[in-house]
Structure formats: C-alpha cells, structure tokens
Symmetry: C2
Subunit: 324 residues, 2 copies
C-alpha cells in the first residue's frame, strides 16, 4: 500500500533534515558545551522526523499542483529550500516537548526511543534548559535571513509561519494540551481544586491541542512557504487534522499492544497512569475503525483541492501503519 | 538625579504594558484555566517592567532624534504602537525565565517579589508548562498582524526583532548563561565531569549571556521597530550592554546588603549557594566603582549617536539606584 518510492523519499528527506538541523543548531565553543551536548542527545535519539517530512511533503504537493496549473511558479527544489527552516524548527519544538514531557514533574518517563531520557542522564535542570533552548532556537531559525528574495512576500510568509507554529505550540495548542493532560492524570494536585476527568469529547479536544495542533501547523507551514492559496492551505489543514487524530489513536493502540523493545518506551504506561485512551473509551476494534475513517477523510480533503497525487497520502498511511 | 517627569513616564508605560499584556495573553475559555491562572500569577507578581520600558524608551529615543533631523518620520505614538508587542514579548520571556530559574531543579527559590514562587503554589509540572507557554506566546505575539503598514519594511523589521530576541533568549544568550551558572553552582552533577569554576572573566561572560543579552535585545528591538539607522542601533546596543552590566553588579550588591523584605526574595542566597559574585570577587567598594563606570560609558555611547536627550539615561540611573 505504501510504495517503495516513498521509502526512498522519506530516507532522502531525513538526510536533508538531519544535516540542516546540525548545521543550524548553535554549537560549541559559542554554545556552552554541556547544553549543546544535551540538546543533541535528544535531537539525535533517532526520531521518525514525521513532522518535518510532513512540512516538506506539503510544500512539494503545492508545487506539484502548480506544475499542473498554468503559470507554474516555484520549483520543487526552491520550495524545499524555503520550507526547510520551518521543517527543522518544528522538529526542534517537537524534541523540546518530549524532553519536558518526560520530566519527573510531568509524565516521569525514563525511557524514550530505546534510550534513557535526557533528565536521567543530565539531570532535571539541564533537561529543562535544553528544552527551553531548543524551543527558542526554533524561532531564531524561523526568523533568519533570507527575508527577501524572488518571492516578494517572503517576509510575510515567514511571519505567518511563525505565528502559526507559535500558536500551535503554545497555550492554546501543545502546552495547553499537556496542561489539561497533566491535570486530568492527577499528576498535579492543587489544594481546593477537584481533579477533572476527561470523557471521549474531552480526550479528543486534549489530543487535538497536545498532538494535533503541531501536526497541522507542520503541513500548513510547508504549504505557506511554497506559496499555497487559501483554498490549498485549508485543504492541507483539514488533511493534517485527520492525520493528527489517526496518529493519536494509533499511539494509544500501540501503548496497549506494543512491546517495550519495539516501542522504545514503556508500554502499558497509559493504563498504569490511569490515563484515558481511545482503546479504553471505545475498545480496540472501534478505535481501529475510527483511525481508518480518519484516513479516508484525509484523502477526501486532499482530493477536493487537487492535491492527492503526491506523498502526502503516503505519510497518512505511514502514520496509520506505524509500529512505533 | 532622576527627574520627577521620569517617574510619571515609568508609571504611564507600566499601565500601557500591563494593559497590553492582559489583552494579548491567551485567556479562558480557549486557554485551559489552570494554565492561564499560573501564567498570570507570575506575570502579575509586581515586576518592575524594566525591560519593556527599555523597549519603549529606545523607540522614543529614535523618534526624538528624528524629530530634530530634517524629514522627521514616525510620531512617538506610532513608534510606541509598533514597539509595544516587542515590549510585551520580552516581559513574557523574562517572566518565563524567572519561573524556570526558580524551580527546585535549578535555583530552588521559594520566594520571588515577596510571594511564593509559582512551583510552590501550582507544582513543578504546571510551573514548567506556564514558562513554556509564556515563552511560546511571546513569539506568537511578535509575529502577529499587522505585517504591512505605512512602514514598507514592517514585516522585515518584525523578523529582525524576532531573530534578535530569540538569539538573546536562546542557547547563546539567556538559556546558555543559565546552563553555565547551573554547572558552575554545582546544582547539576554529571558523572565523570568536573565542576567548572568561574573566574572574574567567566563570571562576566556568564552574566552577559544570562542577563545582558535580553536587556540589549530589549533596547535594540525598540530601536528597530522605530526605524533606527544601523549607527543608532549600534549605539543603543552599546548603551544597553553597559546597563546590563550595571544591573548585574547592583543585583549582586543587593544580595549582600539587602534585607529580604525589601528585596522580595531571599537575601544572601548567592553566598549560601557558593555562587561567584561581584562583591565576592572585587569587594563592595570596587564593585560600586565598576557600576558607576558602566553608567558613564552608557551615557557616552548615547551621546556619540545624538541620543542622549531622552529617558534612556534615566533608565540607566534607575538601574544603578534601584533597591530591589
């Protein structure tokens, strides 16, 4: 179902992204060595690079659609170049969120991608700072030169991307979702406040903030940098919203089914933490059906905007079929 | 030495800044209430608003210089409007840095501005997230509309400000300085690594990153938004660099001399923590002389660029004379 050419595509994008991440992240001697080491430890932990690949694939999809339309604009190479800082910035932000989420004060995870989590190795203080550093450097990267070029509105595109990514990562997005999750999981106990419990609707809203928002911002950022129209941005956003939902359902299923060695993190942790999950609320069967329905809606969203013939749908299928 | 008109100026700016901060920060119901409460707890803790006032005063100084030059451009009101998002963003970033620095994993402070620190009230998890949220919202605010206006290069100015602020707050600035401080203070112990010790030069470099960089970015951001020339930006940067140095020397002196009730935080904490300070390395007398020399150089930097006749120098004197 996932073509071999897509495997090659993913491999190529990963190389480009990893190279750019290391070229752009502050390094010693100007960056304090311990901090640089800590940031790189998490960045090099062998992540899938799903989000940055989504950024680049969305940019490619816009260019491919333009190629088929009269007056085709940017080439795929140009679009990649314009979208690459956004791709890297989103991976920096994703990595920071994992570091902070793993802290004892939050989810208290000691294993991530098969290795000890950052705070286990460097201590909580340096782990907090490494996260802060990655988050901040993401925005430095997004605002860097060039600010003008063949695209007359390049500076405006960059500002739109910064606003979109910050909104997705902030109090109304990822950080907000983690706060709701933390409160519902009862990790944080505040005198005089009852611990809220999440129903199916609340669970979905929490994940839409915590995971969905940044996945949507990934695809939309790529489309913005490639000069997508408003209609194209809306379609890409709807597509990515479904991908985000599928991502979370599969995540919950893997937590029930997965073995720790394949998952690279502690399996069964959600149940042990008494966290609400899709399998818990809907059962495994129905959860799988919900995921497949999401994929179908994702494909429909792309099709309506003439964006179906590219790697975006392969990414959606990858998310559905992933084993870790 | 500090004129009464300056007291009024500071009071007026504080009102404008506080109003804008509350208007712009995400609030319930879209923002999770607990997170919003935590972010506001720290934001409303009665800070001096030194950095945002510096942003606005730098913008004013550029406009005042233009008024005396032929073909004067923006009015003071316009410059204020353009610089206000940067002023608020920097206060959000400053507030986040205090929250994270106070955590048990870092400086472990329980009192700040006379009130219990955020993590004491809301727990470490929510405190980490409130900091993350404030930092991220700062960049959302900086990238917001308007992106085009009477100033043709408004979008480019905003990108320059974002890059400057992110660089100052990131791994080569504030976060990097805190990492160096943490390592030197021995709070973080990593197997096989010797704890480094800071000499006078190392101390100065650490503070230039940890405190100085954001103070410089404050003044420079205001000057960029008001359309300052490269020469003006360089002068404002040199000025603010001296102000940052004076700020830190006075901070260290207050820690030795100040009473906890006036300081609003635990006095004598640096010595108790075995942290290197200016009084420790140079003695009190010599530390005071270093601060006065910094003020003189700050004034010279402004004078050379024709930027002396405004409130910037009053801010420098305020920093020298502050009691908390």
């Amino acid at each position: 179902m996932i073509p071999e050419s897509f495997q090659d595509y993913v491999k190529r994008q990963r190389e480009v992204i990893d190279h750019a991440l290391h070229a752009w992240l502050p390094a010693p001697p100007v960056c304090p060595p311990l901090l640089a080491e800590a940031m790189n430890y998490s960045l090099d932990a062998g992540g899938k690079r799903l989000r940055p690949i989504l950024v680049l694939a969305a940019a490619d999809a816009i260019v491919a659609a333009a190629d088929r339309a009269p007056g085709a604009a940017a080439s795929s190479t140009q679009a990649h170049g314009l979208a690459l800082p956004a791709a890297c910035a989103i991976e920096l932000i994703h990595t920071y969120s994992l570091i902070h989420d793993d802290l004892p004060a939050m989810d208290d995870d000691t294993l991530r991608r098969g290795r000890p989590t950052l705070h286990v190795v460097y201590g909580d203080g340096i782990a907090i700072l490494a996260g802060d550093g990655l988050l901040t450097e993401a925005f430095a990267l997004l605002a860097r030169e060039p600010r003008a070029g063949a695209e007359g509105d390049l500076a405006v595109r960059k500002l739109r991307v910064i606003e979109r990514i910050a909104a997705a990562a902030g109090a109304l997005g990822m950080v907000g979702g983690q706060a709701v999750d933390l409160e519902a999981a009862g990790t944080t106990e505040i005198p005089g406040r009852t611990r809220p419990s999440l129903d199916a609707r609340g669970l979905q809203a929490m994940h839409a903030m915590k995971t969905g928002a940044l996945i949507r911002a990934s695809a939309v950022s790529g489309a913005i940098m490639a000069g997508g129209s408003d209609a194209q941005l809306a379609a890409v956003d709807r597509f990515a919203s479904e991908v985000g939902l599928v991502f979370q359902i599969v995540d919950d299923i893997l937590d029930v089914e997965g073995a720790a060695d394949q998952l690279g993190k502690t399996a069964g942790k959600d149940a042990a933490d008494d966290k609400p999950t899709y399998p818990l609320l809907f059962g495994l069967e129905q959860s799988r059906r919900l995921a497949s329905e999401g994929i179908a809606r994702a494909e429909a969203a792309l099709g309506e905007a003439g964006l179906a013939e590219n790697h975006l749908m392969n990414i959606a299928r990858w998310v559905l079929g992933r084993k870790n």
